[in-house]
């Protein structure tokens, strides 16, 4: 064996060995049965998970969510001395930002200038000039996105998902990928709930009645104003629609509480957003919230209807979720709630002191436990509570209680998040695509092999061998890169197989041409390769450029495609130019072959 052949053989064996080594964990992990998998230690699972080729959510099933930090809401939260001007500005800002692809603070600045909004008036804590304020606000927004990512990470960790991916995208988005999650509804709630826990004192019946009367009178005034203005139009309408009868007409009394039918919730929202109503509530330092769960009652015409309890509360929270040290789901042992899921909360020492003070000062008052602006319960304080423990009731299910405990432990989001993009792939659909995908890949590959062996005989066998190795090496590279295989990635694999077959075909056709021109086998192989290589390199490099660009600009699925294609090109050039060439050289130098099976 001459030294050039030996060196090439060693190189090829080294690369093949590397490929097999890289793929081994994936193969072992895939072939392992469930029993054995469940016996693996955490470290072993980590090893297999990180060294195996990952399947994308489109193949495996799972949930992919892009959360967007609600920046307009953050601005609203940070602003002081808000007036009409500001509120209008905020509405403009929201719609402008949602309909453009510009950076949030650029839109903010432009609109502020356009509306001649005096920023220092609202953001005096953040600076004296427009530029100072904007830079401080954008710092605040960066800070809050960091907090959001931390908290979401916490929640996901506690929820217990294998290999969650949480990453920042752009300035204000977080991508969360949870593979293999079945209950997408639950996962979504867990990620998105702000989890702001507030303990608020319920106002007494007298002041509640007073505020209802006041709201009623505002509405009758505004209605009569309407009548004055649109005299003619108003005649056309039935003048007894519910909103004209006032606020109190929407309410019924249920066991000492006020309640509102679920169909009237929209009307309630309208009323509470009226400016005069907002002013009255602010003046009395109060707020009106509804209960989290509903009750079913039979209304006057015998139909079952859903009702939510209405609460009139002191607007400033006595305590917030920040003081919580631990929260656990428990099944209630005693009382009317026995057997139901509740959340037991423990506060830190500062919270416990406060809690003792609040409960001491409000004996016989009711205290509402409010989570994300929904009242979960409002028990009467019977005695002072020491030790900082409390129990939250009013959960619909054990899962809900577990999740609320998780979000309370993980902390509240500093600013609400909205879902910008979501993709949930049910496990069955994912499994279906992957089994059908691999099956048809196998059938396709088999046909390709038959076809080229039929055309090129022995040489076709060599080509098939090189195509197989292209696939193995490419999968090995993907395992090493810890890349994720998605449906577009499989497309990339198919294209790679195509290009790898093509490279061989180009070479063989060239060799055949040289043979037809009367060259000997040896020199036909040499000049055939020499000429074909230039074509192959040019064709592959152009496609390689396309792949690299796609990788740079593309998002998610396109990126996956580009990765596979790029490495596919490199690997297929290696197998076609170096590996098959070696096999030909090896065969033809050992004995002087007169005829080539091609």
């Amino acid at each position: 064996m001459d030294s050039s052949i030996r060196n090439r053989l060693l190189t090829i064996l080294f690369v093949f060995g590397l490929g097999i080594y890289a793929l081994l964990p994936s193969i072992r992990y895939t072939l392992m049965d469930e029993d054995k998998k469940s016996n693996l230690s955490d470290d072993q699972i980590d090893y297999f998970e990180s060294r195996s080729i990952k399947q994308g959510l489109d193949l495996k099933g799972g949930i992919y969510i892009v959360l967007e930090v609600d920046l307009p809401q953050l601005i609203d939260n940070l602003a002081k001395n808000k007036d009409n001007n500001f509120n209008e500005f905020l509405i403009d800002l929201k719609s402008e930002y949602n309909n453009s692809s510009r950076d949030f603070f650029t839109v903010f600045e432009d609109l502020a200038v356009e509306n001649e909004l005096k920023l220092p008036r609202y953001f005096i804590n953040y600076g004296k000039t427009k530029d100072q304020i904007i830079s401080q606000l954008s710092l605040q927004s960066e800070d809050s996105i960091k907090r959001v990512i931390e908290i979401i990470q916490n929640r996901v960790d506690q929820f217990g998902v294998a290999e969650p991916t949480i990453q920042k995208q752009g300035n204000n988005r977080v991508i969360v990928e949870l593979a293999g999650i079945e209950d997408s509804e639950r996962a979504r709630d867990l990620l998105q709930s702000t989890a702001l826990l507030e303990l608020m004192i319920v106002k007494n019946v007298e002041s509640t009645n007073a505020i209802i009367r006041q709201i009623d009178s505002i509405m009758s005034v505004s209605n009569s104003k309407d009548v004055d203005q649109d005299d003619e139009i108003n005649e056309l309408f039935d003048s007894s629609s519910s909103s004209e009868l006032g606020f109190s007409s929407l309410l019924i009394s249920v066991g000492g509480n006020l309640a509102i039918a679920s169909k009237d919730l929209a009307a309630l929202k309208d009323i509470l957003f009226k400016e005069d109503v907002i002013q009255i509530l602010e003046a009395t330092n109060s707020t009106i919230l509804t209960s989290d769960s509903s009750i079913k009652l039979v209304n006057e015409i015998g139909q079952e209807e859903e009702f939510y309890t209405l609460f009139h509360l002191f607007n400033n929270a006595e305590l917030t979720g920040g003081v919580i040290e631990d929260a656990q789901m428990r099944l209630s042992q005693a009382g009317v709630t026995a057997g139901q899921a509740v959340v037991e909360v423990e506060m830190n020492s500062e919270g416990s002191r406060e809690w003792a003070r609040i409960t001491g000062a409000n004996i016989n008052n009711r205290i509402a436990i409010v989570l994300d602006k929904k009242v979960h319960m409002a028990p009467v304080i019977r005695s002072q509570i020491f030790g900082g423990g409390t129990v939250i009731e009013g959960m619909n299910s054990i899962e809900e209680a577990e999740d609320i405990a998780i979000v309370l432990r993980a902390g509240a989001l500093p600013v609400p998040v909205t879902i910008a993009e979501e993709r949930t792939i049910g496990a069955s659909l994912g499994a279906d695509s992957i089994s059908k995908g691999t099956q048809s890949m196998a059938i396709g590959l088999f046909l390709v092999v038959c076809f080229i062996v039929f055309f090129y005989k022995m040489s076709g066998l060599i080509a098939s061998f090189s195509v197989m190795w292209t696939l193995i090496l490419l999968l090995g590279v993907l395992a090493l890169l810890e890349a994720t295989l998605t449906l577009p990635g499989i497309a990339g694999l198919i294209l790679t197989v195509g290009m790898s077959v093509d490279a061989n075909v180009i070479i063989f056709e060239r060799i055949k041409e040289e043979l037809r021109n009367g060259k000997s086998v040896r020199s036909a192989i040499d000049s055939g390769y020499e000429r074909a290589i230039r074509t192959i390199v040019d064709a592959n490099l152009t496609t390689g450029i396309a792949a690299a660009v796609l990788y740079q600009y593309g998002s998610g699925p396109i990126k996956g495609f580009a990765t596979v294609l790029f490495w596919g090109i490199i690997v297929s050039m290696f197998t076609a130019i170096i590996v098959t060439r070696f096999v030909f050289d090896f065969v033809t130098t050992r004995k002087n072959i007169g005829r080539l099976s091609i």
């Binding site: 997408s184 048809s440 198919i494 180009i506």
Partner: protein
């Protein structure tokens, strides 16, 4: 085995016919595209829901159930949205345009509504009912389309540049026009089928670009080689010779690729079907265009510059 060896087909004789044929196809495709492409939610925002009933259902039934869905404390009518079967008659795909003030869990709400209102025909576990759920806000949709568009454009520009350097600008022009031709016609045929364009069909289009490019370069490379011996005189016959020389390779490669794609189309399952279909059309159009667009354009360009 001998296959298409020493052929002497005069491809360039049919050059004008090829141009005419391609123009008609391209023109028709552009009209089809202008009439409206079925853009998926990835690019225009909205919600797409795939559900799997436990027995066959009629589209009418699903439509009826979506007549009144509670939405922000009121009822809306979703029966006018796009509803179609997905693979078989028990799986249904529903695509809903993005609505103003859409609640966060809108898709889930619709799924829950279907699950409750058609309770006789749903699997016991709700998780088995959900095949897929996708929702994209219009803002993200426009960002994704922008990204996809610019990635394709910049790839084309760079390829143009590379071929200009390696070959010459006139070659690059032919190659790029052939690519644009392939993508437009495939898009046109694609829009006839009513499949929707999603991020993964974009990947299929990129695959076609890669494939067709590969094919074109192989022929252009032959032309370049033959030009060294024969110069640019009798350019058409040089091109004919080159196409004939690489004909067996072109056909063998296209056929092998078509095998894989047809298998994928038949056995690949519903998710991958739009992708396989795009590839099928693209490979056929791509092979044709390497000969009748890239090479023929080159012939025309040389002829006019030699006059």
């Amino acid at each position: 085995m001998k296959f298409m060896e020493n052929t002497k087909i005069n491809f360039m004789k049919l050059k004008s016919f090829g141009f005419g044929f391609s123009s008609v196809l391209a023109f028709g495709s552009i009209i089809l595209l202008l009439m409206g492409v079925n853009l998926g939610i990835d690019f225009k925002g909205g919600t797409a829901i795939g559900v799997s009933f436990s027995e066959n259902v009629s589209i009418q039934e699903v439509r009826g159930s979506l007549k009144s869905v509670s939405f922000n404390d009121s009822l809306i009518d979703l029966s006018g949205e796009e509803i179609k079967y997905f693979g078989n008659q028990s799986d249904v795909m529903i695509k809903i345009k993005s609505l103003d003030n859409e609640p966060e869990d809108f898709g889930q709400m619709v799924i829950n509504h279907l699950y409750d209102s058609m309770s006789a025909k749903v699997p016991e576990n709700k998780n088995d009912f959900i095949l897929s759920l996708g929702s994209v806000s219009p803002k993200v949709g426009s960002e994704l389309s922008g990204k996809a568009f610019w990635s394709v454009v910049s790839a084309l520009v760079l390829i143009l540049f590379y071929i200009s350097v390696r070959f010459e600008f006139r070659f690059a022009l032919g190659a790029i026009l052939a690519l644009v031709h392939d993508v437009i016609i495939t898009l046109g045929i694609f829009s006839l089928t009513g499949f929707e364009i999603t991020l993964s069909t974009v990947a299929a289009f990129l695959t076609i670009v890669g494939y067709s490019l590969n094919d074109t370069i192989v022929i252009l490379d032959r032309i370049r080689e033959n030009m060294k011996s024969s110069g640019t005189v009798m350019f058409e016959s040089t091109i004919n010779k080159s196409i004939n020389q690489s004909l067996s390779r072109t056909l063998i490669t296209s056929l092998t690729t078509l095998f894989v794609i047809i298998v994928l189309l038949v056995y690949g399952g519903e998710v991958i079907r739009p992708f396989s279909f795009t590839m099928l059309v693209g490979v056929i159009v791509g092979t044709y265009s390497s000969i009748y667009i890239a090479s023929a354009l080159l012939a025309t360009i040389y002829q006019s510059s030699n006059k």
